[in-house]
Subunit: 138 residues, 2 copies
């Protein structure tokens, strides 16, 4: 029998779906003097913080239009569709706006190896400091 | 019988405990041109992202020394011990450093009403956009 025509490896990645937007809230997004807003990308399943990246107005709009994360690369000064070549794409479930309008949390389904260019699932793999906290019984 | 001398309402908030630090990593923290690094504060219990705030070198050091979050208020241009007056303190369990050294994730035990000045648990209570994501079976 013939092999299947398309293997998992060869098949194209899933397309994203445009997001539904609260347009009133979109008007409240505040970009900084450089035209950027920090976006905290969080794994929608495990809730791990995956990365912190920056969006400008156009990358936010492309994220909304495609259902995948687009960022502004400050070092390369270009729009950047996350995982376009690596396959480590992020498909958006929610974008949440901070109380002051100047930061975002983006809940995603992370595909591929993970979010980090090092190959790690999260960019926050290094533990700088630890303490006991003070647990509450809430 | 006499009432207890100290009620829950009247007792002082718990003291924080100094954090244990990886000093090699502390040298890798990169502050931006304004001397700041964004800190994503995450609830250590529920893993909700509570707030995004900024630290300078001194507020990071005070956070380490006290086991509670200290930030730099960009609007008031001053060091700010979170929850000092409100009681909405954050006791640190972990500080994690991003792969490029220019962002932090701080896992905390949130006390009091929550992290947001609006009285909400999280500063990210507003949903700007929603989509289906693309679930994976990992």
């Amino acid at each position: 029998m013939a092999e299947p025509a398309s293997t998992s490896e060869g098949s194209p990645p899933p397309a994203g779906v445009p997001l539904s937007v609260e347009t009133d809230l979109l008007d409240l997004v505040r970009f900084d003097a450089a035209g950027l807003i920090p976006a905290v990308v969080q794994d929608a399943v495990g809730l791990t913080v995956l990365t912190v990246a920056y969006m400008n107005r156009e990358s936010l709009q492309r994220t909304i239009d495609t259902g995948r994360t687009w960022f502004w690369s400050r070092s390369r000064a270009e729009l950047w569709p996350k995982g376009e070549t690596s396959g480590d794409r992020q498909y958006v479930r929610e974008i949440r706006l901070g109380c002051e309008g100047n930061s975002l949390v983006v809940l995603v389904d992370q595909h591929g190896q993970g979010a980090c260019h090092t190959g790690s699932w999260s960019c926050f793999d290094r533990r700088l400091a630890v303490g006991p906290g003070v647990p509450t019984d809430r």
